[in-house]
């Protein structure tokens, strides 16, 4: 009975697909990471059992707020430390924590700063200071090599990754079209697609043109959005409210697809693998909804 009690109070905070696209890792508020096999869950003879994780382990003491996959490793971030797990080992249902190599990792932390770590050596290379409250979200503009960060203080800051200096600072709540004072000013989601940026949170979800630094469209979504992504010519976002919103660039909400959790924290698209092209969402529930056709929920994976 304690298990069902646990499940009743579970929330999923983060997700990440494996490099091959066949597995999904999800992190919850108890500090556990569960690995699901998508190929098993999507196969024609899938059963109740294939919607359960193939591996479930405790990664951190506190909730696992962020999961990120590199080519070989799964990085998980909790309440203070970052762990790296080898995907190859996870798929084999063994968990071994080890160091990673290649590239650098950008970490936005609860200490209001952004840290950049060299993944080969594990040493923090530099710190980007500027936010006055903790950082909700980060994203990277590849072309210009710029880092965008959004935080609880309501500001979206753009940093140059080569020089590690702030380039811009946008205080979204100051813009009347987007601001929603009844909710607050924090920014909890950021996404960028070359010249465009999506941001939302306390203020409404809005699409910005980065060259001109002005909002072009504001989406009339109730509730605060926690994660948004660009997909083809659509914008998909999740947040408070039990649905995934599909929006068009013009600012209209095309559809709101209902889901099981009462509010959603994370949305992930599996674009690496054409066979298992799915969208998964998780939130205030022990269940993770899987969308094979993005217009409706196909089934749910369960912790």
């Amino acid at each position: 009975m304690f298990i069902s009690l646990q499940l009743l109070h579970m929330s999923v905070f983060s997700q990440s697909f494996s490099p091959c696209g066949r597995f999904l890792a999800a992190g919850n508020n108890y500090g556990e990471i569960a690995v699901f096999s998508l190929s098993a869950a999507l196969s024609p003879d899938a059963s109740q059992a294939s919607q359960k994780p193939i591996l479930n382990f405790t990664a951190h003491d506190g909730p696992v707020f962020s999961l990120l996959s590199t080519d070989t490793h799964l990085l998980s971030a909790g309440n203070g430390e970052i762990s790296a797990w080898s995907w190859a080992e996870l798929i084999k249902k063994v968990r071994v924590s080890c160091s990673v190599n290649d590239n650098s990792l950008i970490v936005g932390g609860g200490d209001n700063n952004i840290h950049i770590m060299d993944m080969e050596t594990g040493i923090f290379k530099s710190v980007l200071k500027g936010h006055t409250d903790y950082i909700h979200c980060l994203c990277f503009k590849e072309r210009e090599e710029e880092i965008l960060s959004g935080g609880e203080d309501g500001a979206v800051r753009i940093w140059d990754s080569r020089t590690n200096r702030p380039v811009h600072c946008i205080e979204v709540f100051k813009y009347e079209e987007c601001a929603r004072p009844q909710f607050g000013k924090w920014i909890s989601c950021l996404a960028t697609d070359s010249d465009w940026m999506l941001c939302g949170g306390g203020p409404s979800l809005s699409l910005w043109h980065l060259r001109s630094m002005s909002p072009t469209s504001v989406f009339p979504l109730p509730g605060c959005q926690r994660e948004a992504v660009f997909y083809q010519d659509l914008i998909m976002s999740v947040g408070e409210g039990p649905h995934v919103s599909h929006c068009l660039h013009g600012g209209t909400v095309k559809a709101q697809i209902p889901c099981t959790p009462s509010s959603l924290n994370t949305l992930a698209l599996n674009l690496k693998n054409t066979e298992h092209r799915v969208m998964t969402v998780g939130g205030s529930s022990h269940q993770i909804d899987v969308f094979t056709n993005f217009s409706y929920r196909a089934f749910s994976l369960s912790f």
């Binding site: 069902s4 009743l8 903790y134 924090w186 909890s188």
Partner: protein
């Protein structure tokens, strides 16, 4: 014969037969003749064949003559002419010849007959003689066989075998020189020997009988003596009763109990033995008093129990008689209706054994849990009824009405043991026969057939028979559970009466879990029924998760602060405090939110529901519910105070000024509030 015929003339005359007048005339002439006419002699000389030929000739001649006469007559000759007369005379002569031949034939016939008759007679005589002889032979044969079959009585006597006889018998009886040759003598000798032996043995028998009589008399005397002692002993026992009580060694009582216990059915007996043993082993609260933690006693009608266990042979004769009587009665009486018959069958099936067991379980605070155990004979299950007696008067907590209700007090002592259905699978078939659909209908009357009760009586329904080992292993555990259950219920009772007065009773040991100042307060505590509970909108997730059952207890708590009103629907499992009560929240403040719509309320729910180790307080964890309610109040405080951090468009003073110390007010993508209280620093943080 012929000589006789010669002598007598008269028979010859008499032999004359009716013939024609002419022949008569001829005869008269012959009479005067002295010559003897001996036809018989003539008969012997004649040849029958010749006579036959003669006859044929004569007939032919006659025919010829008749034909001639005819011719003449038809030729017109006159009657009386010479030729006709001639012919007529010749016809007459022929006629005479015929007559003679006829006579001769008759005589031959007679002669033959006579001869045959004589021969027959001779044969008959011989035959008769033969018969006589045969009869005699048969008779003799029978006699012989009878003689041969004769068994003398002496053969029935079983004699000792010959070898033994020759060995044992003294010489004057056995006389071997004579008897070895002569079988008859041998038999006689053996019989003699037999007779002598028998006489000897009869003597011995008489002597033994006399001895037995003597001994018998001696025994009788001694018995009388013993029975005369009995009243004396009784007196001593009576006199010793006060002494027994004084020394707290109730032998008398125990004996009586043991006597009655013999008539208990096996499961109740096992239960009694185990309970008494357990009570003795670990129960004594004080050495010098009779107050044990657990005491067991038998109540009920012993005579009925004895009647039940009487062996069936005694009543067989009665049965056959009563059967006959009943048949007669049945034809006279109207047969009872089917419904009544079925009812009777049901009553019979659900019959209780007349003896029942009463076990009293004392708790440390003096309250007593009375358990009455009954045995249903035909169903082979034990049931239990309960009663609680407390040292203090339990008054007034309205919401606590259900807590000590004897129907539900012992529900779910072990998980999912509701005691509504019989645990014995064979009862299913028995019920079908008499049309009982569920046992639950009879539970209030007969008691609850919990599984742990069956186990205490050693009845396990995967195998047969009452097993003592099963009972013993469960006794201690069950008794502890029962004590725990009673204590928990009593504690809850007390707590509820406090809660109804809007006071949350927090014991000293649990003060550290909460900040010194808690502003939100409990304003209402009521009990709800299962129906009402399931109709609430914000508890559906608990229903769907299967975390509540009809046997649970449901309550509604209302916590208020200022304009904010928090409704908490509480599910308390009968196994509290082993199972944590489950809270579901709904907040009415600037709109309505519930744990489903708002992540922070959900976080509050998990703060209250999940942390048993912190909240249960000192063992045995009876503070759990009150601590949960207090924590709920604290969380509401935090929620309301940190909520006002939002830059509200509306101006004006905040309704709930921030008083709690928090490291940070939001964390994570869902920006949860810090609900965890840290002692002794007194600030709030996130988990």
């Amino acid at each position: 014969m012929s000589s006789d015929a010669v002598k007598k003339r008269k028979p010859k005359v008499i032999r004359n037969e009716a013939g024609t007048p002419e022949t008569k005339r001829g005869r008269a002439e012959g009479e005067q003749d002295v010559l003897v006419y001996n036809e018989e002699v003539e008969l012997e000389g004649r040849d029958p064949q010749q006579d036959y030929m003669l006859y044929k000739d004569t007939c032919a001649a006659l025919a010829k003559l008749m034909a001639e006469i005819q011719e003449l007559k038809s030729g017109g000759a006159k009657v009386g002419s010479v030729e006709m007369e001639e012919r007529r005379r010749q016809c007459s002569v022929h006629f005479i010849t015929l007559k003679k031949l006829n006579r001769l034939a008759h005589m031959r016939l007679k002669k033959g007959r006579d001869q045959t008759h004589e021969a027959k007679q001779r044969v008959d005589v011989l035959h008769l003689q033969l018969q006589n002889l045969l009869y005699e032979v048969m008779h003799l044969q029978k006699e012989i066989s009878k003689c041969l079959e004769f068994k003398s009585q002496h053969e029935e006597i079983e004699l000792v075998s010959e070898e033994e006889f020759f060995q044992e018998a003294p010489a004057e009886i056995s006389r071997p020189h004579v008897t070895r040759d002569d079988h008859h003598q041998l038999t006689l000798a053996r019989l003699d020997w037999e007779l002598e032996q028998r006489k000897r043995l009869a003597e011995q028998y008489k002597m033994s009988l006399a001895r037995k009589e003597k001994i018998h008399k001696a025994i009788e005397q001694k018995r009388e003596y013993l029975s005369s002692l009995q009243p004396g002993l009784q007196n001593i026992m009576q006199a010793s009763l006060p002494v027994q009580e004084c020394l707290s060694m109730p032998f008398e009582q125990m004996q009586k109990q043991a006597e009655v216990a013999r008539h208990l059915p096996p499961p109740l007996y096992v239960l009694l033995v185990q309970a008494a043993a357990y009570g003795q082993a670990c129960g004594k609260t004080h050495i010098f008093t009779l107050n044990k933690t657990l005491s067991a006693s038998i109540s009920g009608d012993v005579d009925e129990a004895k009647a039940l266990s009487r062996p069936p042979e005694d009543s067989q004769d009665d049965e056959s008689d009563s059967d006959a009587e009943e048949e007669q009665q049945n034809t006279k009486r109207r047969r009872a209706s089917v419904g009544v018959q079925l009812d009777d069958k049901r009553k019979e099936m659900l019959r209780r054994h007349p003896l029942s067991l009463c076990v009293d379980l004392k708790c440390k605070d003096g309250s007593v849990l009375h358990l009455f155990f009954y045995y249903l004979m035909n169903l082979n299950i034990l049931t239990v009824k309960t009663k609680v007696s407390t040292t203090t008067d339990l008054s007034g907590a309205v919401s606590a009405g259900e807590l000590l209700n004897s129907e539900s007090l012992l529900n779910c002592l072990y998980a999912s043991d509701h005691g509504q259905e019989t645990p014995n699978p064979t009862n299913r078939y028995q019920f079908d026969k008499v049309g009982i659909t569920t046992f639950a209908d009879y539970v209030s009357d007969l008691g609850h057939p919990y599984v742990w009760v069956q186990k205490l009586g050693g009845l396990q329904f995967s195998s047969d028979g009452a097993q003592v080992a099963l009972s013993a292993s469960h006794m201690e555990r069950t008794m502890k559970l029962l004590q725990g259950r009673l204590q928990a219920r009593l504690a809850l009772h007390k707590q509820f009466s406090s809660l109804e007065h809007s006071i949350i009773p927090i014991s000293g040991e649990c003060q550290h879990l909460f900040p010194a100042k808690v502003v939100s307060g409990l304003t209402r505590w009521t009990m709800m029924s299962y129906q009402e509970f399931t109709e609430l909108g914000f508890v559906q997730h608990v229903l769907k998760a299967g975390l509540l059952r009809e046997t649970d207890l449901f309550f509604m708590a209302v916590v208020e602060r200022g304009t904010a009103r928090l409704l908490a629907a509480v599910v308390v499992n009968p196994r509290y405090p082993e199972v944590m009560p489950l809270f579901s929240l709904s907040l009415h403040w600037k709109g309505e939110r519930s744990g489903r719509t708002e992540d922070n309320l959900r976080a509050m729910e998990s703060e209250v529901n999940m942390f048993r180790a912190e909240l249960q307080g000192p063992r045995p964890g009876l503070q759990l519910l009150t601590n949960q309610i207090q924590r709920l109040c604290v969380c509401l405080d935090v929620y309301l105070e940190t909520e006002s951090q939002v830059c509200d468009g509306s101006e004006g003073p905040k309704e709930f000024p921030r008083e709690k110390m928090c490291l940070r007010t939001a964390r994570g993508p869902s920006r949860l509030k810090p609900f965890k209280y840290n002692h002794p620093q007194g600030f709030f943080s996130h988990r």
